[in-house]
C-alpha cells in the first residue's frame, strides 16, 4: 500500500470524526467545508510525522482540533460575517424531526462553550478517557478532569436557569 493509499484509507475510516469536529467549530456550510479541507490538508502534511507512538485516532483528533483552534485564532484577527445556519450544515441527509430538534438543542449547548471546552466536551462525547483527552489536548489528566467537571456544572446550571 502506498503512502497515499494508506492516508486515504485512514481518512475514509475516520471521516465521521472530521465531520463532527467541523460541525462543532463552524457556523455555515462554506466555513465547514473550508475547515474540513484544512483538516484533511493538515493531516496529509503531518502524516509523515505520525510515528505510531500514539493511536491514529489520537493523532487525528490532535491535528484536527489544532487546525480548528488556529482557524478560530485567525478569524479573531480577521473577523468576518457569520451566517448562523446550524441545522442545515449539520446534516448530509435529512433526519427525522424529533432527532433534528434534539440535535439542535445539543449544538446550542455546545456553542455556548469556549473553543477549548468545545474540544473537551467533543472528546468526552466521543467516549475518550481523560488520559487520551490529555494526550490529544496537551493538558494533564487532572486538569482535564477539573475542566470537564466545570463544563458539566455549567451545562447543569444552564439547564436549571432554562427550566
Amino acid at each position: 500500500m502506498t503512502k497515499e493509499e494508506a492516508f486515504v484509507a485512514i481518512i475514509q475510516e475516520h471521516e465521521g470524526v472530521i465531520y463532527k469536529i467541523t460541525t462543532v467549530y463552524t457556523n455555515s456550510v462554506s466555513e465547514q467545508q473550508d475547515l474540513y479541507q484544512d483538516i484533511v490538508y493538515q493531516l496529509w502534511t503531518a502524516y509523515d510525522s505520525f510515528r505510531n507512538e500514539s493511536k491514529i485516532s489520537t493523532w487525528m483528533y490532535r491535528v484536527a482540533l489544532n487546525t480548528a483552534f488556529s482557524r478560530i485564532r485567525k478569524e479573531k484577527r480577521q473577523p468576518r460575517a457569520v451566517t448562523l445556519d446550524h441545522l442545515n450544515i449539520r446534516q448530509a441527509e435529512p433526519y427525522d424531526k424529533q432527532f433534528e430538534e434534539r440535535l439542535q438543542a445539543m449544538y446550542e449547548q455546545i456553542d455556548q462553550l469556549n473553543s477549548l471546552d468545545k474540544g473537551l466536551i467533543l472528546l468526552v462525547l466521543e467516549g475518550k478517557k481523560y488520559e487520551e483527552i490529555g494526550e490529544i489536548t496537551g493538558l494533564s489528566k487532572t486538569n482535564v478532569g477539573t475542566r470537564i467537571s466545570r463544563i458539566k456544572e455549567r451545562l447543569r446550571n444552564k439547564m436549571t436557569k432554562k427550566a
Partner: protein, 197 residues
C-alpha cells in the same frame, strides 16, 4: 440538556454520520491540493476583472483608431492595444499554469521545478507590467487627449502636476501589487515545502 443526554444524541449522530460516508480517494486527495489552488484564487479574480477592463479599453482605442492621424499617435495606439491585450492575458495564463501544478501525482522534484518556473514567469510578467505601465501612462494621456479632444495634452502646463501625482501613486501601487504577488507565491511555496517527502 445534561451530559448524559448530550451523549445519547451524540451517539445517534455518530451512527447517522457513519451511515453517510461519502468521501472517495479522488475527493480526499483533491482536498490536499485545494488549499494550494485557493492561494491564487483571490488574485485571479482581481486579474480577471482587470483583464476585462483592459480588453474593453483596447476595444475603445481600436474603435477610435481612425482619429489617430499621425504616425506617432498610431504607434501609441498600437502600443496601447498590444499592452492592454497581451500583458493581462499573459498574466492570466501564467496564473492558470501555476494553479494547474499537480502537487499530489507529480514527483516532489518535478513539482518544485514546475513551480519555480511558473513562479518566475509570473513575477517576470509583473515586473514587465510595472515598468511598461509607466510608459503606458504617458501613451494613455496622449491617446485620451487626441481621441477625446483632438489636442496634445502635453502642451498644457497643469497636466504636469497631474502627471507627477499619478506617477507617485503608480509607484506605490506597483510596489504594493508586486509585494502581494511575492507574498502569495511565498506562501504557496511554504505549502509545497510542507509536502516534502
Amino acid at each position: 440538556m445534561e451530559l448524559e443526554e448530550l451523549q445519547q444524541v451524540w451517539t445517534e449522530l455518530s451512527q447517522e454520520v457513519e451511515k453517510q460516508k461519502k468521501l472517495n480517494h479522488k475527493i480526499i486527495m483533491e482536498m490536499t491540493q485545494q488549499k494550494y489552488r485557493r492561494k491564487f484564487d483571490k488574485i485571479t479574480r482581481y486579474e480577471t476583472a482587470g483583464t476585462v477592463i483592459c480588453i474593453l479599453s483596447a476595444g475603445f482605442v481600436l474603435f477610435n483608431f481612425d482619429k489617430l492621424d499621425t504616425f506617432f499617435y498610431q504607434a501609441c495606439g498600437i502600443f496601447a492595444i498590444a499592452f492592454l491585450v497581451v500583458l493581462p492575458t499573459s498574466v492570466l495564463l501564467a496564473l492558470r499554469k501555476i494553479k494547474a501544478i499537480d502537487l499530489i501525482n507529480n514527483p516532489y522534484k518535478d513539482t518544485i521545478v514546475a513551480y519555480t518556473k511558473a513562479k518566475n514567469r509570473l513575477l517576470f510578467l509583473q515586473r514587465i507590467g510595472i515598468f511598461s505601465s509607466f510608459i503606458f501612462f504617458f501613451v494613455t494621456l496622449a491617446l485620451t487627449g487626441k481621441i477625446m479632444n483632438d489636442k496634445d495634452v502635453f502642451q498644457e502646463t497643469e497636466i504636469w502636476y497631474f502627471i507627477v501625482l499619478v506617477l507617485i501613486g503608480l509607484l506605490f501601487f506597483s510596489r504594493w501589487g508586486y509585494r502581494m504577488y511575492l507574498k502569495i507565491t511565498g506562501s504557496a511555496e511554504d505549502l509545497i515545502e510542507d509536502i516534502k517527502p
